[in-house]
């Protein structure tokens, strides 16, 4: 019936793919012209030279990406602890970073007191459980139903307390992680890839494997156990969970304990790579851009975000850092996250923010 001639021609520009393609083409064309005309080769140094280096020395690229991947896994582990707690209790837990340090210090401290390594691990888990119970009793329970920012501040209080407590118990000096006693591998594997030598630290491989195992275990725990189901219910709605008889207090202890276990594993891995000290706390701030990139409520988001940030900042530091004086690792992660946020304000995998009046 409808005459094909009267139908409006499909507007090609309305298609987002076409639009994005056009924009990319325009940018590339503009850059090509710019690079030709540019007298001081600044544009060349920014937009062409790094990619040439990548193509010419693919082994270096692989090495850089691998290093980014490993630090990304560690960022993701810290972010995972944040997400667990945020999902279950809506608390933005700033203390996760210091919990990592505290767990690692407890482990090393116990070992130095003469406790066998694996017994020390179990005892440290006990300490983390006690910490979870204490935090729930002393901090969370009296502050239930307060605005988010108050709970956020309370975790700052926990951070300060743990810094002071940890330092007065274990001293402020960096310690050596007991990697060998825990049968973590040492040394490096050299691989012959793409005409160059790529060296992978065994501990990094172990970290990646252990992190994947732990994430799988967590996913199974959430999916298939009774407590996991309760946790998911609490994450969905506190009130509905309460009304079907789930004890919020108990759930909070479990969640903080789980975050404590994650913290211990992160602490062991990170400590084995460098050493155990309070400087880790600052590095833990790197988990924040990972979080906003992935979304506060998404476990896959924490992992993907961690990998993007880790690889992004290593590539940026290695290929673009020298152009502006180096050391850009300290802020590049935040700018990457900020860039993503401008397009998706709730993070890549976060829940959609719905606002009503």
């Amino acid at each position: 019936m409808s005459d094909i001639a009267t139908r409006p021609a499909p507007n090609l520009l309305a298609n987002p793919l076409v639009k994005a393609g056009l924009i990319v083409a325009a940018v590339i064309a503009a850059l090509a012209i710019g690079v030709r005309l540019d007298p001081t080769n600044t544009l060349y140094a920014i937009f062409v030279d790094p990619f040439q280096q990548m193509v010419q020395a693919p082994d270096l690229l692989v090495q850089t990406v691998w290093e980014g991947l490993v630090s990304g896994v560690l960022y993701a582990l810290i972010a995972l602890g944040f997400v667990l707690i945020f999902k279950a209790s809506g608390v933005f837990n700033f203390a996760q970073g210091i919990m990592v340090v505290f767990a690692a210090l407890t482990l090393v401290g116990l070992y130095e007191k003469g406790v066998p390594a694996f017994l020390a691990v179990i005892l440290t888990l006990g300490v983390m459980f006690a910490l979870a119970v204490t935090i729930e009793r002393v901090v969370l329970r009296p502050l239930v139903n307060q605005p988010d920012i108050i709970l956020f501040m309370a975790t700052f209080g926990i951070t300060y307390f743990l810094i002071g407590f940890g330092e007065s118990l274990f001293g402020g000096n960096p310690k050596q992680m007991i990697a060998e006693q825990l049968y973590l591998p040492k040394g490096a594997v050299d691989l012959q890839i793409l005409g160059g030598l790529v060296s992978l630290q065994k501990i990094d491989i172990a970290a990646a494997v252990i992190a994947s195992l732990m994430i799988a275990a967590l996913a199974a725990f959430f999916q298939y156990t009774r407590i996991g189901r309760a946790l998911r219910a609490v994450a969905d709605s506190h009130k509905a969970a309460l009304s079907v008889g789930i004890s919020l207090n108990q759930i909070w202890v479990i969640v903080w304990f789980t975050a404590g276990i994650v913290a211990l594993i992160t602490g062991i891995m990170w400590g084995a790579r460098s050493d155990v000290s309070f400087a880790l706390e600052i590095v833990a701030l790197k988990a924040l851009p990972v979080l906003i990139l992935g979304g506060f409520t998404s476990i896959p988001g924490a992992i993907v975000g961690g990998l993007i940030i880790g690889i992004g900042e290593k590539l940026g530091e290695f290929y673009w850092g020298p152009l502006i004086g180096g050391g850009i690792e300290s802020w590049l992660a935040y700018f990457i996250a900020l860039g993503f946020l401008l397009f998706r304000p709730q993070g890549l995998f976060g829940d959609k923010i719905i606002e009503r009046i």
């Binding site: 933005f92 002393v138 901090v139 009296p142 502050l143 307060q146 605005p147 988010d148 920012i149 108050i150 956020f152 501040m153 309370a154 700052f156 209080g157 926990i158 951070t159 300060y160 307390f161 743990l162 810094i163 002071g164 407590f165 330092e167 007065s168 402020g172 600052i282 701030l285 924040l288 851009p289 979080l291 906003i292 506060f296 502006i324 004086g325 180096g326 050391g327 850009i328 300290s330 802020w331 935040y334 700018f335 996250a337 900020l338 946020l341 401008l342 304000p345 709730q346 993070g347 923010i353 606002e355 009046i357």
Partner: protein, 359 residues
């Protein structure tokens, strides 16, 4: 008895809308100012003035700045220290370029640079909210801190990378530099803080302040009522960063007297100022003073007070205990009064008003 509104009639709109509607409040403010202007400089020791009062005043100003952003407009920022740093470095550059201009003028002008940078980093706030914004402001913190170390122009290509505060005078009295006495520096700080607090009070009680509070309470509703979010939020960032910038310039020029400024303006300072704002009370100017007093005086008091009380602790151990106590006090305060010290103050005044017959 002493604090009562009975018998104080308001006969004009101006007196009805006064910031201090009660005569007792006005007397109280006058007494506090008199103590600050006369009693402290004449009775306080140099140590008290230099390491208790000056830091307190500077932190109060920074806390007011952050309170405008976080308490009044509801935008959480973790980049306060960086904005303070911008103020400090621009003051340093300005006094290098214009050595003859009075340093107080330059301190006030350097806040403008900080305001500009603040607006720049405030732009994402139009799209990002809540904790996401808090983390986004960390970008400002780390980027600016990096710039303070890596851009040698900012510290005049010093080998040490430190700011050297030159001697600047007013009527031949040295205000900054090594020969300035603590009393002079204290008076300059006090003057700046009083004037700027008065400005802040006028801003937050005026049209701009109300639009900020509307944005804080619900930004969509505020937008529907005709408040331009872009203007309101960026104005909040500008004013807030201005106050922080001035506080930062004062910090280096009137308190530290130079040094490795990049280390001073670290993330820890940002957190400290956020503590002050929250412990003091969000959305309250007097709360900023309470918070600054609490958190800047407490560590000093613990450091010097505990040995005086006979608790044998010193050095590193004292620092650890201070950390633990501050952490514990933050939690206790949040549990007892989540709305901060300002709310306690308000409750106290209300109790006084109805005393001795509270019903």
């Amino acid at each position: 008895m002493l604090y009562r509104e009975a018998g104080q009639y308001k006969s004009s709109y101006a007196s009805d809308m006064a910031v201090f509607p009660l005569k007792e409040d006005r007397i109280g403010i006058a007494v506090i100012l008199a103590i600050a202007l006369v009693a402290i400089p004449f009775l306080g020791s140099d140590f008290f003035i230099a390491s208790v009062m000056i830091p307190f005043l500077i932190f109060s100003l920074a806390a007011i700045g952050l309170n405008i952003l976080t308490g009044y407009t509801g935008l959480i920022s973790l980049g306060t220290a960086a904005f303070m740093g911008v103020g400090a470095y621009s003051c340093y550059k300005l006094t290098t370029f214009f050595p003859d201009v009075n340093i107080i003028v330059l301190i006030l002008v350097s806040g403008l640079f900080s305001a500009g940078i603040g607006v720049l980093f405030g732009l994402p706030s139009l799209r990002i909210k809540g904790f996401y914004l808090a983390v986004a402001t960390l970008a400002a913190q780390f980027f600016l801190q990096w710039a303070f170390v890596r851009v040698p122009w900012l510290f005049n290509y010093n080998a040490s990378g430190a700011i050297e505060v030159p001697q600047r005078t007013l009527f031949d009295i040295p205000l900054t530099g090594a020969s300035a006495t603590p009393e002079t520096r204290y008076f300059v700080c006090l003057g700046l803080v009083v004037v700027l607090t008065w400005f802040a009070s006028n801003i937050v009680h005026g049209k701009l302040g109300r639009s900020w509070m509307a944005v804080r309470d619900m930004d969509i509703a505020a937008e529907l009522m005709g408040i331009k979010l872009l203007n309101a939020k960026l104005a909040a960032f500008a004013v807030s960063s201005y106050f922080c910038g001035v506080a930062g310039a004062m910090m280096i020029f009137l308190w530290y007297g130079g040094g490795e400024a990049a280390d001073v303006f670290s993330i820890r300072l940002s957190f400290n100022i956020l503590f002050m704002v929250i412990i003091g009370g969000l959305g309250s100017l007097i709360g900023s003073f309470f918070g600054a007093a609490f958190l800047s005086i407490l560590p000093t008091a613990l450091k010097f007070g505990l040995p005086a009380l006979g608790v044998p602790i010193a050095g590193a151990a004292a620092e650890h205990v201070t950390f633990m106590l501050v952490g514990a006090l933050i939690i206790i305060f949040l549990i007892v009064e989540p709305h901060g010290l300002a709310r306690l103050w308000q409750i106290g005044k209300q109790k006084l008003r109805t005393w001795p017959f509270p019903y």
